[in-house]
Amino acid sequence: MEVLPTRPHRVVVSALALACVLLIGLAAQTPPPYLVIGSEGTRPLPIARTSGATDLVALDVVARFFELPLREDTRTGGVVLAVRAQRVVLTAGQTTVSAGGRLVSLSAPVIKEGTTWLVPIDFLRVLAPLLERAIDIRRASRLIVLGTASVPRLTPRFERTATGGRLVVTLDPGVAARVTRDGSLVTVRFQADALDLGPLSGAPPELLANIRTDGGTLLIDLGPAVTNVREEETRDPARVTLDFIGTATAAPVRPDPAMPEPNIDRPGTLRTIVIDPGHGGADVGSRSAAGLEEKQVTLAMAQRLKAMLESRLGVRVILTRDSDTDVTIDRRAALANNNKADLFISLHANGSPVPSMRGWQVQSLDPADYDAVGSSDGFAAQSVPVVGGGTRAIDTVPWQLAQIPHTARSLTLAQWLAARLTEGGLPSHPTPVLQAPLRVLVGANMPAVLLELGFLTHADDAQSLGSAEFYTTVAAIITSVITEARAGLPPASGGGGQ
């Protein structure tokens, strides 16, 4: 028999349902707490709410957390936090606070809501000198490190290799680590209180199923295709490198299929290439003992390469400069972006205080150097108005970080170009492939590499760098690489990034 609810019942049930929805909604809006790591252990610090890019914390929560007396000053309408013998005075609506007699700026104003006072999370930094204790706030990972607690930042990066893959974990600061393996679980124990693990993208699940932390330990779940794991011998405390040896089924494929597809990875769609002859005008770059200037070498090389690419491949080639003129760094990448280039190659010639240093080197962007910039400038979703009313969230890419999503493919391209230059018999730098925070590449919104052709400070290199024969040889190698890239970017081989 079906029992229909009476009207009073329906009202009660509806009210309960509405309350549940509101509670769930409120819970969903509550931002996650920060984890505070100190010598006393790890404790959560709840966040009241997030306003824009600012996390707000209740002042009474802060007071309880650090066991500091808090009282309202009815005379001034402010609130006073006693920190040892010092006073911190806060006033609603003000972005400055008085701490021990000094005015200190905050990232957002102090808010008073009823009896609750809210302060931006960076208020904790105001307390640091008064508490005589370092307070390191890491918003991206929602960590707060107190005092001398050791919480190194871990930046993991996964690269495909001929035998499977390689996980490189960079530590800042470097600490001692010990690697052990138990079945499909690899454990890396660091001499640290906790770990600040950055995101890892592009790791194929058949090789690396998961990566997580537990206190000062990094736990890596191996994928089913891994047959062996080898730790690279190094005394560098700032890096842990693990080679994942895979079965035949885990043979390398194109790097990171989850990454946005650049045209270079779609056969036949490579249409526009921007070649950037480094320096120019008043900026001569490096110089040989005989007076040969880097800006001359790069322009001659670029013009030879442009002619060869256009005649053999029929692609559109744009030079960022075709004469001895000054071109700003931003304009070089902007030219490539505005022309929707599929590939950006910046040409340079190197210099060293040691005359015996020689050889070419292919460089690509190291994204690890932009972690802090990325977390503040953000690849954040922005709300934009749409036709017909309302708004829509879109993911934005800051122009000054446009290269970040392309770094994996840029590195693969760099490794591939290095392999072909090696096959061509040209003398290489001891580190043939280098990742670094390169200004000219970071704004390029496509796969991008920088080729150092050789050292103008090395006698033999300088002689080569001034010869048309050298330009033709290098242009032919680059052309062959691009020809093959049109059919799809192959797996990385040779080289090996630093």
Partner: protein
């Protein structure tokens, strides 16, 4: 012994004791204090030691620390760490300033500096976030011979000198003539603070 001889003997003894006292207070005691002062509070990794041959450091304090500074490795593709005496300072900002000044100075005998001669430190600021802003003179640009490798070594010699000797400072931004710059000579992105660059330091073989 005559009365005059006794007076002379007492005066000589008194002068000797006074000289010993002056030596204890002005030379031995400061050296002993420096040698026994704990460095953890300052976050220094360098070791303290007795006063070196150099004279006072402005405030009359002759104490010095051993700091790790960086010069080009014989191979040419990296930096090598070299321990050098640097004047001691109680405040981290002042200690960082003295370390950078020593890094900018001429290299010790047998080593080659990666920083153009004539480069001077204009100012140095620390932020509560553990970042240092190092403002150097334009000589670092005008005197630079160019090349990405040389530029990397120049910048990371400064960044590492600060972050390795003062671990509380985690990142360093180089300013030139008081202004933020894109690069020194066209390669390395200097628009934001750079973290310690261990990979630029030659590994122990």
């Amino acid at each position: 012994m005559t009365s005059a001889k006794r007076v002379f003997t007492y005066l000589a003894l008194g002068a000797f004791v006074a000289a010993i006292g002056v030596w204890l207070v002005t030379l031995w005691l400061p050296g002993w204090l420096v040698a026994t002062r704990p460095t953890e509070g300052l976050g220094l990794t360098g070791r303290t030691g007795p006063a070196g041959p150099a004279g006072p450091t402005g405030s009359g304090d002759t104490r010095r620390i051993l700091a790790t500074l960086f010069y080009v490795a014989p191979s040419g593709d990296a930096l090598i760490p070299v321990e050098q005496e640097v004047p001691y300072a109680a405040a981290p900002a002042e200690q960082a300033r003295r370390i950078v000044e020593q890094q900018l100075a001429a290299a010790p005998v047998g080593h080659v500096s990666v920083i153009p001669a004539g480069t001077t430190l204009r100012a140095l600021f620390l932020t509560p976030r553990g970042e240092a802003y190092v403002d150097v003179s334009r000589d670092i640009v005008t005197g630079h011979p160019g090349g990405s490798l040389h530029e990397f070594l120049t910048v990371y010699a400064i960044v590492n000198a600060i972050t390795i000797n003062l671990p509380d400072i985690t990142a360093v931004q180089v300013l030139v003539d008081g202004r933020e710059v894109d690069t020194l000579v066209g390669h390395l992105d200097l628009r934001h603070p750079l973290r310690r660059g261990i990979r630029w330091v030659q590994r122990t073989r």
